[in-house]
């Protein structure tokens, strides 16, 4: 029981990280129709800048405060210099160019920070654990991650439904030309949306810092899961990204934790562990295939 609750919380926490990543990616994909493979690079930039500033100042909060603008500004510069040239071109060009960006940023981090991974400590004030459910202690830091993710989800919801900027973003997503003809500066809006997406990726990166190693190429492993999430959720849909992220986080985590136990009921332990490991790493893709058969446009497709 203890293990089960713990694993569910772990799954939620992974899901929240994936949500932060996929919210930005699905926005950019849904609104600008750009496939941005380099989204993971902004996650990495957030992690590196956060780790460096935290190490220098000793303050995790300052590290976060530095990581967010670093990821957002890098994103906006990349949008202006690279992405703008790709909007009118086909997806293959976009994939090639943004794949190039991945290699550029991975090499850049190796030049700036070296080949050794950086390690971030969980800040002292979040190092303990709390009992959300009596008898089940859970690390405070991971609970903080979940709380931040929920807060971001609420803020995004308010931004898109309650503010005129959010309405203009949605208007521009459905009819770019018409929004422009009504006075919306679409180029500026795209830059801001891209910056928002990379800011969220940077936030995910800096929060992942104390959980994972900060190293060159760390963005790619989460990027693939992120794409799975937005396909499951429905491309362009933030609500879909949330649902998909939580689902993928839970399926991936629970699969890894419990498939071996489950299969041991039927097979010899060695055989069961081998099969379970393969099955667990396939589970999110099986989930994606099943969702696509059931709902080809994803769980919660973008409206209209």
């Amino acid at each position: 029981m203890l293990l089960f609750v713990e694993q569910i919380l772990n799954g939620l926490q992974l899901g929240i990280m994936l949500f932060l990543m996929s919210a930005g990616l699905t926005l950019v994909f849904g609104i600008m129709q750009v496939i941005n493979l380099a989204h993971g690079s902004f996650y990495m930039i957030g992690a590196y800048v956060g780790a460096t500033v935290t190490a220098q100042t000793g303050s995790f909060v300052l590290g976060c405060l530095a990581a967010l603008p670093a990821a957002a500004l890098t994103g906006m510069v990349v949008e202006i210099l690279v992405l703008r040239r790709l909007y009118e071109r086909d997806h293959l060009d976009q994939v090639l160019a943004t794949f190039g960006l991945i290699m550029f940023f991975n090499e850049l981090t190796r030049i700036v920070w070296g080949r050794q991974p950086l390690f971030m400590d969980v800040p002292a004030w979040l190092a303990g654990s709390v009992e959300l459910i009596p008898g089940v202690p859970y690390p405070s830091y991971r609970i903080a991650v979940i709380a931040v993710g929920i807060l971001v989800g609420v803020l995004l919801y308010l931004l898109f439904t309650r503010t005129r900027t959010g309405m203009q973003i949605r208007a521009g997503a459905s009819n770019r030309e018409m929004a422009g003809a009504l006075g919306v500066n679409i180029r500026l809006l795209y830059t801001l949306v891209f910056g928002l997406g990379t800011l969220l990726a940077g936030l995910a990166g800096v929060m992942a810092g104390p959980i994972l190693a900060v190293e060159s190429g760390m963005g790619e492993s989460i990027l693939i899961l992120t794409f799975v999430v937005i396909v499951i959720g429905g491309i362009g849909s933030i609500r879909g990204a949330l649902a998909g992220a939580l689902l993928v986080g839970l399926v991936d985590t629970l699969g890894r934790a419990f498939l071996p136990l489950l299969l041991r009921l039927f097979f010899s332990p060695a055989y069961a562990d081998g099969v379970a490991a393969s099955l667990a790493s396939m589970s999110v893709y099986l989930l994606m295939a099943a969702v696509l058969v059931w709902r080809p446009r994803g769980l919660l497709p973008a409206h209209g």
């Binding site: 208007a171 009504l182 006075g183 180029r187 209209g304």
Partner: protein
């Protein structure tokens, strides 16, 4: 207020406008007439910067606008009601109205939600519906309202009554008559000549990318030959 002078516009290699010139004065309702494919909508797209001109000038309120991006043109005070309505389907009626609303020219009596709903009361019951849940007529009214909420000095309507039931059409024409009474300058494209003759001051007839006839409503009414030759009536 709006002066279009010798504009030439291309779609790729093929030329659509061959030196179109006309003017719209303060408070005036001017039509662009002519059969399909003669360049009326292209003229509108050129004015709005959606299909930029390759030659000629467009001046609005003393500002050269033919090299500006379309959002900058709109912000100078031109409101577009486009061909095919182009309501944002993923926004509610209310959101369609307020998303791009503005009063950049500091109009002393700006259009507000209440004022535009008084012109098209039918929309008041629909505020929570999404754009794609409206009938064609409601979408058309919403497109007019959406443009009005930017508080433009010039309103451009491209085929605002196309494909609508007669009753709805009448509502739209009544709305436009009110706007004219408020002193709005309007450039309108429509096939409904009788209604246009009621509301418009001047007319420009286009043929094959050129303005081939311009004149006042009484002149057009008297000239059966022009009507027969260019408009087929």
């Amino acid at each position: 207020m709006l002066a279009v002078a010798g504009i030439e516009t291309f779609y790729g290699p093929s030329q659509a406008l061959f030196g179109v010139s006309f003017e719209v004065q303060e408070g005036e309702v001017v039509t662009l007439l002519g059969r399909n494919g003669m360049g009326k909508s292209t003229t509108v797209r050129s004015i709005m910067g959606l299909t930029p001109v390759r030659a000629g000038r467009i001046v609005f309120d003393g500002t050269e606008i033919h090299r500006l991006p379309s959002h900058a043109i709109a912000r100078l005070g031109i409101g577009l009601v486009p061909e095919g309505r182009q309501i944002f389907p993923n926004l509610t009626v209310y959101e369609n109205m307020v998303a791009t609303a503005a009063n950049r020219l500091k109009s002393a009596a700006p259009y507000t939600l209440d004022r535009v709903l008084a012109i098209f009361p039918r929309l008041a019951d629909r505020l929570d519906h999404y754009g794609n849940q409206l009938s064609g007529g409601e979408q058309q009214m919403l497109a007019v309202v959406r443009a009005l909420m930017t508080n433009p000095r010039l309103l451009i309507l491209d085929e605002a009554t196309e494909g609508l039931a007669p009753l709805i059409r009448r509502e739209i024409w009544q709305g436009l008559t009110q706007l004219k009474a408020n002193g709005h300058a309007i450039l309108v494209i429509d096939k409904n000549l009788d209604a246009l003759m009621q509301i418009a001051d001047r007319h420009c007839i286009m043929q094959k990318g050129r303005v081939v006839w311009q004149g006042r409503t009484d002149e057009l009414a008297a000239d059966e030959a022009v009507k027969a030759r260019y408009l087929g009536v």
